[in-house]
Symmetry: C2
Subunit: 325 residues, 2 copies
DNA sequence: CTGAAAGCGCTTACAG
DNA sequence: CTGAAAGCGCTTACAG
């Protein structure tokens, strides 16, 4: 029908007929059937995002950015959570989302489950991913977006060193690669300053996990500065320090990653590295669209990581402040 | 074909042929085309959730519950955010999600945009919603899930009164109805105790907004207890009290709503009303499935609101502790 | 228990 | 610029 043409805004339609059709459409309350359209065109203007979690700040903000960008170009967004990193769950997630007519897929590959899912996406399915910068393997094979976490961690660590701390301890979130980007930047800054590189403390993603893992650090009088893998770990660290009677920032400095909306209201207000997840999500959709249709232009918008200095950092108790390098 | 039967687990298939077909399927890497299936069956096993926000704790947890429950029964989940409460944005959201073949719709109607979207869902589309308990209008017309916020607020307020506070102030999140359920419970508890009912302080949803709105309360020596509409407002209140030099809980008690995962790590640890949003999300999907197919049973799982007493509440400075009623 | 036929509501070339 | 025809890959009765 001609109806199809006016709905799809085909140019070759006389203005008279177009408005006549538009009229009839609204008169009858006509709504096109998406399934039929997808079948006939053998493509659906949709993205589905595969992730192992939807509530952690980074993932949720990424999803927000993806949805905004998708909505702006008329794409529909689906979401499928990967139950675990076990092969059966990976396969189940793939089966649910990678049907032939399905549009594109975006996978949030910040953990093992995500990385495995990314690698299990069948050939022929358009895909883009948000990955850790250290995941060079997948970066070469798929369109990916990532932050320069290495540089960000290096900057944050150097900032602490510049304040006079002899060294900086690191409370790490789990990494999807053998060595996380943040960990790498932290280590590089320490080595560049000739500081000792303490053993990394491995933690999970939550404040609870951060508090538990930071207990040992709190009891060690040697630690005067802690770089945390995210703001939740930093909140947990603040809690552990308080419980151990060590004041922040007077005795111990703490830095987080993310800059969640609550960070400025913690006690003390958290110094942290701001990560523009919403922008990164938009970028990821842009990349996917470019894969779907190479004629679309790709201009990336995510802001680079930025250290936001607030109240949880200061010179060490008795340290001689060194000049910042 | 018989293939269709084995995929859909039709009982009337001989075991021999079934396994032969299964074999061929995995051999060829066959994946059914969802669009074709939806077209032919004129129904898609999917839900799309309509919400004005995906990152606020309550919404995100609700989404998590919906996704879990949907995944368990093989339904796909889509998400569409409503840009604003303006008619054009409401309509756009509806148009994107309520296509004829579309499965069900779940709308998170905790704010004006959500309520309007709910009411704009075309007849014939199966729908369920998460609403405020005070929204009796929509509760009568659609299958809905809600918390007993009124009772929860009443309990929390009575707890504070029982600690000896002469009255309790209320910092409210925006309500989708003329008078929010939490506000109503708070007022009832005050009246039941013969306490004066202070003017409500209206705030938004964020810690920032809570901090700003709580500034006036912090400067008023009369206020010794504040019931906040959510944990972010409570965090902001903690911040404002600290800035004004009023210690919590010694001089002022603070209670939140939600029990976000971070609440126990705030300083002081936050006393709050735990709301089982994940369970509520599961329940909402259950209701939707029942609408889609009345033969499915509906057993609700969400836990009732529960007051979690931590460190942000205590007796007022010089008040005479009264017995808890 | 298993196959042949029609049709779901669109889009895509192809004629006029 | 606008129709008529075929077909996308399934499911749903209907026969065998």
């Amino acid at each position: 029908m001609t109806v199809s043409r006016v709905i799809n805004e085909h140019p070759a339609v006389k203005e008279a007929t177009r408005s006549r059709v538009q009229h009839a459409i609204s008169e009858l309350g006509f709504r096109p059937n998406r399934a039929a359209r997808a079948l006939a065109a053998s493509a659906d203007p949709s993205v589905t995002v595969l992730t192992s979690n939807t509530t952690l700040y980074g993932r949720a903000a990424l999803l927000q950015g993806i949805e905004e960008a998708a909505r702006a170009v008329g794409m529909t967004v689906g979401i499928a959570v990967i139950a675990s990193a076990r092969p059966a769950d990976i396969q189940a997630a793939i089966d649910r989302t990678c049907a032939p007519t399905a549009g594109g897929v975006i996978v949030i590959a910040y953990d093992l489950a995500g990385v495995r899912a990314l690698r299990a996406v069948p050939a022929g399915i358009p895909v883009a991913a948000a990955v850790e910068a250290t995941n060079t393997h997948d970066t070469r094979r798929f369109p990916t977006v990532m932050f320069d976490d290495r540089a960000a961690a290096q900057t944050a660590t150097a900032y602490l060193l510049g304040l006079g701390h002899r060294t900086v301890h690191h409370l790490a979130v789990p990494s999807s690669t053998s060595i996380g980007a943040r960990l790498r930047g932290w280590r590089a800054a320490l080595q560049a300053a000739g500081a000792v590189v303490p053993e990394v403390v491995e933690a999970g993603w939550s404040a609870e996990s951060g508090s538990r893992a930071a207990r040992a650090l709190a009891e060690d009088p040697q630690v005067t500065a802690v770089l945390c893998g995210n703001d939740d770990l930093a909140l947990g660290t603040l809690h552990a320090m308080r419980a151990a009677g060590r004041s922040v920032p007077e005795q111990v400095s703490v830095i987080g990653f993310d800059d969640v909306p609550q960070a400025a209201y913690y006690s003390p207000a958290l110094t942290t590295v701001r990560l523009d997840f919403v922008g990164l999500g938009r970028d990821c959709l842009t990349l996917l669209r470019h894969t779907l249709d190479p004629t679309t232009s790709v201009t990336l918008v995510a802001a680079p990581p930025e250290l936001i200095v607030r109240g949880s950092t200061a010179a060490p108790p008795s340290g001689t402040p060194r000049r910042r390098r």
